[in-house]
Symmetry: C2
DNA sequence: GCCGTTGTTGACACAGCGCCAACAACCACG
DNA sequence: CGTGGTTGTTGGCGCTGTGTCAACAACGGC
């Protein structure tokens, strides 16, 4: 390990910032917001505590960066627009979602569940943006590229279902991936065919 | 107002505890966990801060009591088991749920969204229990009184959908009650008829 | 080699929490 | 009506964690 309490080293601002951020992502990923002190982050990064504040200002601002990283999903895969009829597209979308979530399950689920503090305005905004992106992906996958506000809201609701269902699978381990898949596919199909026309 | 900084009064332990708790419920309901200090609670209750610790031990323990209160729903209405075919029962259940949520929308939604701190073990447990009760109500309403673990998990997932959809209605105001009702009714019907058999 | 730039440190001040001994309001009892 | 005991209540102490800032030192240019 490179934890060697060696001499003080001087790094480029971007590099140091990146290093501290990655350490913070790891710590906040395994423990909650209140259980991780800026001293913990500093020590784990082999750095003085004041430096954390120098780069990120406030603990909350650091945390905002952390959940932004956690909620950032490999966007490349999102561009794969499946062809075929509606059930086929729904099926492909659900598979894609489950792949993404299971890949970095711990960090993504932890962050999307507000991983430490909800009720805070800024944190809620970052999470809401991530849900918006997921909702956009859903709407695009089922062929509603330019939805109205109501339709978008319904898509966000569906994302809420997807999150809570994924949690039963990945965190509680009481549902299998197949069960989750069928649940999400069936409900999405119903929503598209029966509910979206209300918007 | 009765904020009169009068002489120190001596109250029965239960009464004092109840008074502090109600003040705490109000404060935590309008602001987040970190934004409310025990000093705020004490001052709003016209009491020394030490007394808060005396009755509730820890700020977190106080907060646990608060969200327990917030998540406690008038249980009487839950016993009304609607008769009729499945679509009718589903419809009645959704109406009941929307009534309950809209009645004390702010506190209930605030609490169920982890209203201040998630990731904490104890808080999560209390919220999980509330979701379990809601899931039980759903299963009972659709005529599955004694479900297995998987079925219960699916019901919890549906509660997640109900919560996120209610939030689009009550907090964001972008969906109407009718739209929410149709969305929740249609998806619940699909889940019961097509998905629950997998469990 | 020296010097300026600037990444980095350590300490100071302050807020919030848990704890506890002293205080005083209230209730028996004489 | 006094008086003493019970116990609800207070104020302050120590601790932890955070934000800020002046001083320090590593690195690159001259």
């Amino acid at each position: 390990m490179s934890v060697e309490a060696g001499q003080r080293r001087r790094l480029e601002p971007d590099a140091r910032r990146e290093q501290i951020l990655s350490v913070a992502v790891r710590l906040f990923g395994e423990r909650g917001y209140a259980d991780v002190s800026t001293t913990d982050v500093a020590r784990a990064a082999g750095v003085a505590r004041g430096l954390v504040n120098h780069y990120f200002g406030t603990k909350k601002e650091l945390y905002l960066e952390v959940i932004r990283v956690m909620l950032t999903v490999p966007e490349g895969a999102l561009t794969e627009l499946p062809e075929g009829d509606l059930p086929a597209r729904v099926d492909a979308s659900v598979s894609w979602f489950l792949d993404v979530v299971s890949r970095h399950s711990r960090s993504w689920l932890a962050a999307i569940t507000a991983g430490g503090m909800a009720g805070d305005t800024d944190v809620d905004r970052v999470i809401a943006e991530a849900i918006d992106r997921a909702a956009d992906a859903v709407l695009q996958a089922v062929g509603r590229p330019a939805p109205g506000p109501a339709l978008h809201a319904m898509a966000r609701s569906y994302v809420g279902l997807a999150v809570s269902t994924a949690r039963e699978w990945l965190q509680r381990g009481v549902l299998t991936r197949d069960q989750v898949h069928r649940l999400l596919a069936a409900t999405l199909l119903t929503m598209v065919e029966q509910v979206f026309k209300d918007a």
